[in-house]
């Protein structure tokens, strides 16, 4: 029996503000435990939270980038539950008036066409502290450095129909967010966390099946794997004549399975009520419009502009747009040099490869747009061969030297001297009499082989165009220089 998979995602995004959402403690990671706390984020009696203006700005930016409506007026609410990762026994969150509502994100859908994923809401809340469970001593150790980190929870409608679509949604979401520079978006570090609501139903069923909520995935791949596992599990349950139980299930990366969390029913009765310590927030239309003006060009728009302005392919534009700063680097190069396609080939080819090997980005490297354009020009002028230019790039990245200096130092200047080239060309003919004979019998394609041999002899330094000319000339003249 065929089932349809229905998925909704909840993404918790840590906002990269200087300070926490309701107090002035630094929003920093990797510090000693409990060194970034104060009476507010420790929930001490008498302390009062004050909303961080930057957290609001980042939430608005994100909401607008996701085509959300901005709520002109919103409040915070208390979500009550007892667990030692919260100091106050409640989390300040938003219940019925989220800062952003009804947005959408366009992803590549399963059929290949663009697909609109509706976003139900995005709301602000504070992150909880971190607990380390000590089984041997039957206790938990609580570190509240993270407590109060601003979170934006972005919730989709159940519009995703496969684990692949869920993966694409996360990929496009992260790409969009990286343009806004509002979060690190690093799942391994926990700055982006994703829970998945998964159910299956017979195709054409209007009613959704019973869903389970999957947690504890720490990469996009894990989200995909957990959904795949869960869909198969639910299929087996239904085909076995049983019912799927609504519950939270944890993904176990090592076992590659989901496990029921078996939480108590009452754990989900949060008794929300308006937060009395925080007054209302209003966001006037002018502020929203002003914020909209500050939004950078987003990936989709950039891709379209690149293909139109620079005449590069959709694929090339897509690769460039994967990193906002690389895309910027490309445009700086294109302002200096007219052949955008050549720049693009270098950036998406050898530059990207070398950057990946060094585990850095173009922006973080010493490479300047002028350097790359210089290198391309040197090839064009015949001062260095295409082949050796790749090595020049490597040294440029490692040493920060300019390409002229490297070419001179390494003695990689392309040999364009006619006398020297003639020697190399004649040697290639003399070394390969059989090939020469073939060519004279009409197999002209074998000329390429001779050019290759000559290039190899020269250590890649010969100007290939000139070598080819000389070889052709000498073939007409005869390998020994005498005419046929």
């Amino acid at each position: 029996m065929i089932f349809e998979t229905v998925i909704g995602l909840e993404v918790h995004l840590q906002l990269r503000t200087n300070t926490k959402i309701f107090c002035g403690c630094a929003n920093q990671f990797g510090e000693s435990p409990n060194t970034r706390t104060c009476p507010v984020c420790l929930g001490l009696p008498g302390s009062l939270p004050v909303f961080n203006a930057k957290a609001l700005e980042y939430a608005l930016k994100t909401g607008l980038a996701l085509n959300c409506e901005i709520n002109p007026q919103f409040k915070f609410d208390r979500k009550n539950y007892f667990y030692p990762d919260l100091t106050k026994a409640y989390q300040i969150s938003q219940f019925d008036q989220p800062v952003c509502r009804q947005g959408e994100l366009i992803i590549p859908g399963d059929g290949g066409a663009a697909k609109k994923i509706r976003i139900n809401r995005a709301h602000l809340e504070e992150d909880a502290g971190k607990l380390i469970h000590d089984d041997a001593r039957n206790c938990s150790l609580a570190d509240y450095n993270r407590a109060g980190t601003p979170l934006l929870e972005i919730v989709t409608e159940p519009d995703l129909r496969s684990s692949q679509e869920a993966y694409e949604y996360l990929r496009i979401l992260k790409l969009t967010l990286s343009y806004l520079d509002v979060s690190d978006c690093d799942m391994e570090k926990g700055s982006l966390r994703c829970d998945a609501n998964v159910s299956i139903r017979a195709p054409g069923d209007a009613k959704l099946g019973t869903k389970t909520e999957l947690k504890n995935m720490n990469s996009f791949k894990a989200v995909k794997a957990a959904i795949d596992y869960e869909v198969n599990r639910q299929r087996a349950v239904i085909l076995g004549g049983q019912r799927v139980v609504q519950e939270t299930r944890l993904w176990d990366e090592n076992k590659a399975m989901t496990f029921s969390m078996r939480s108590k029913e009452e754990a989900h009765d949060y008794r929300y009520f308006p937060e009395p310590d925080l007054p209302l927030v209003t966001v006037p239309e002018e502020v929203v419009e002003e914020m909209r003006q500050t939004l950078p060009e987003l990936p989709q728009a950039k891709m379209e502009r690149f293909t139109q302005t620079y005449g590069i392919s959709v694929y090339d534009a897509g690769v460039l747009a994967q990193d906002r700063l690389t895309a910027g680097f490309f445009e700086q190069c294109a302002a200096l040099y007219p052949e955008a396609k050549k720049i693009c080939n270098w950036l998406n080819g050898d530059v990207l490869k070398e950057m990946n090997e060094r585990k850095i980005t173009v922006a973080a490297s010493t490479l300047q747009p002028e350097d790359l354009v210089d290198l391309i020009r040197k090839i064009e002028e015949g001062a260095v061969s295409q082949l050796k230019a790749k090595d020049v790039l490597k040294i440029m990245l490692d040493s920060g030297k300019n390409c002229s200096a490297i070419i001179a130092e390494q003695g990689w200047g392309q040999v364009s001297n006619d006398e020297e080239l003639l020697k190399i060309a004649q040697q290639a003919l003399a070394d390969n009499p059989a090939t020469v004979a073939q060519i004279r019998e009409g197999k002209l394609s074998a000329i390429g082989f001779l050019v290759g041999q000559a290039m190899q002899k020269s250590g890649g330094k010969a100007n290939p165009k000139k070598i080819k000319e000389l070889i052709e000339k000498n073939l007409q003249a005869g390998a020994d220089g005498k005419p046929f």
Binding site: T35, F51, K54, T282
Partner: protein, 94 residues
């Protein structure tokens, strides 16, 4: 109608341990409160702005500037038990 079961449930959510004889008294209290709310619900408030906050305040925001935090010693001075720079608490499995 509030049942004894409701009282025990709400108490459990709030981690309040009730003695058996308290359940009946609290059930009656809660019923009184709900009856009062019921009365309030009969008023026509359609023309009244909801009170979102007791003070007429709006948009109280602060700039994103860091301020010194407590030291680890200061933070942990209120801990009942501590270990390795952390608050040591009984193990709770959610």
């Amino acid at each position: 109608m509030i049942t004894d079961q409701d009282v025990r449930y709400v108490a459990a959510l709030s981690r309040i341990h009730l003695r058996e004889e308290e359940v009946d008294r609290l059930r009656k209290n809660l019923e009184d409160i709900l009856r009062y709310i019921e009365k309030l619900n009969q008023l026509d408030v359609s023309a009244v702005e909801p009170t979102n906050h007791v003070l007429p305040l709006k948009n109280v925001l602060r700039p994103d500037d860091a301020r010194p935090s407590l030291t680890q010693e200061e933070a942990l001075s209120i801990a009942v038990e501590k270990s390795q720079g952390a608050f040591k608490v009984p193990k709770v499995i959610e």
